[in-house]
Amino acid sequence: MKEKIRIASGQGFWGDLLEAPYHQVTKGPVDYLVMDYLAEVTMSILQKQKKKNPELGYARDIPELMKRILPVCIEKEIKIITNGGGVNPFSCAQEVKKVANSLGIKNLKIGVVLGDDILDRIDEFLQSGIDLKNMETGESISIIKDRLLSANVYFGSEPIVEALKLGAQIVITGRTTDTGLTLAPMVYEFGWNYENFDLMAAGTVAGHILECGAQSTGGNFLGDWESVPDMAEIGFPIAEAYPDGNVIITKHENTGGLVSIETVAEQLVYEIGDPKNYITPECNADFTSIKLEQVGKDRVRVYNVKGKPPTNFYKVSAAYFDGYSAVGTLTYSWPKALTKAKAADRILRKRLEFLGLQFDEIRTEFLGYNACFGPLAKEIDEDLINEVVFRIAVRGKDYNAIERFGREIAPLVLTGPPGVTGFAGGRPKPSEVVAYWPALIPKELIKPKIEIVEV
């Protein structure tokens, strides 16, 4: 058994710093590179792409990225784990195989995790009385069944561990928990037992710290952010994991950023609910048990993590079509910038009313004044305001109403308050609203499947 392993986070979301994974595998020693690509809304976008072209439906950055990092990873024996397979992990693996072939790489096994996509099984579940109730509203999924765009189960680390056991150096999954990507190598390398819930929780907590990339190494840090060195070359987090469940969060030495108790603590509280019950397929991790200790420069030890047995359910993430929305903006300048923007809002709303357009919601915000803090925004002397962006957004079921709204923004420039600019982007176009449906499903109904693609 290895004395320790170093797991590097390469992406915190699809759209993160493209250079990060390359730097993670070249700037210092690591054993694993883990990359999270999937946000809730991402799956429905990928499902749409797959509908148009059955070969697509995965994070298309991956083949390009593999061209750069595969030669290094092969040479240094770094294993790669990613959920960027989206709704088509098998096609993603085929593309990676093509890249490997073009680089002359041989004897490479790519593990593919399948079975999380349950979009085609919804009727089957409904017929057997599994109605995938919305966790927030309690409603049955049958009410939005015809508008479903995607439906996926969150697998944990187990299928990834299976793929690693089959010799995979790259593992590509669909919907997998972000934390499972990091926990899997620990289970595989240290032979951790799935009944040891403290170890499951330790790996899960490490995964939570890694899952948003540089958010644990000084990015988006609300503490003393100005003291974070060299953010231009910010290092992404690395979990140095030990067989006893101790984990040290660190980053490569020759990078910017900061790993401190404060930067790690901010990531620990990010998007959590009840901290005593952080629920994953492997365990219920207790975030109130976690201890943090600064053990060196940019090295924070995470220890004492406790866990309880998991629930009997997988989380399901489904997305459905829910109408259209559009956003228009105009910029008003001094003098009386805010008064002008407010007048423009009144005028526009009157015109929308005259036209008889129906919306589910209209929302106005003034960027530079109250877009972030809403009613908590403080009043300031208007003469000190240089400019304000008037932002108005609408949402509704009627495409034509939303489209017509888009045509009413530009006319304000010549038919409303003065000192206005910022209409270079053209008419706002209606975009589809994709709503999210969280649910639970009994674990026994879903079986992950592992396939190996050989190069």
């Binding site: 809304v41 603590a265 959590i272 009840d274 901290p275 908590l376 999210y436």
Partner: protein, 107 residues
């Protein structure tokens, strides 16, 4: 005396469906005691009037000197549906750090 939370704490906020979570983290034990005593769920609910339309839950994490608040029905329908510029509640932690509280203890 009057203090602003930003003088004794930092934090991070994000979304979970239509709920926002705000993790408020004290810089030291003394600061945590103040947060624990004064920044109750009721105080936070009142402060976010007009933003949070559901209940506010508070969870204590003394191990990392943090309080975690869940603001239900606070994001205008949730990340993908919301018309808000800050649909994911990313700036709500900053909004909370701006809150002033009247305390008895010297800081």
């Amino acid at each position: 005396m009057k203090i602003r939370l930003i003088d004794i704490a930092h934090g991070r906020s994000g979304d979970k469906g239509d709920s926002a979570n705000i993790g408020l983290i004290a810089y030291d034990e003394k600061g945590y005691k103040i947060l624990e005593k004064y920044v109750t769920a009721d105080v936070v609910k009142k402060y976010f009037e007009g933003i949070c339309f559901g209940p506010v839950e508070r969870f204590e994490m003394p191990n990392i000197l943090a309080l975690n608040f869940i603001l239900h029905n606070a994001l205008g329908g949730g990340g993908t549906v919301s018309l808000k510029h800050d649909a994911q509640g990313k700036t709500l932690a900053s909004a909370l750090l701006r809150m002033e509280i009247e305390i008895e203890e010297p800081v």
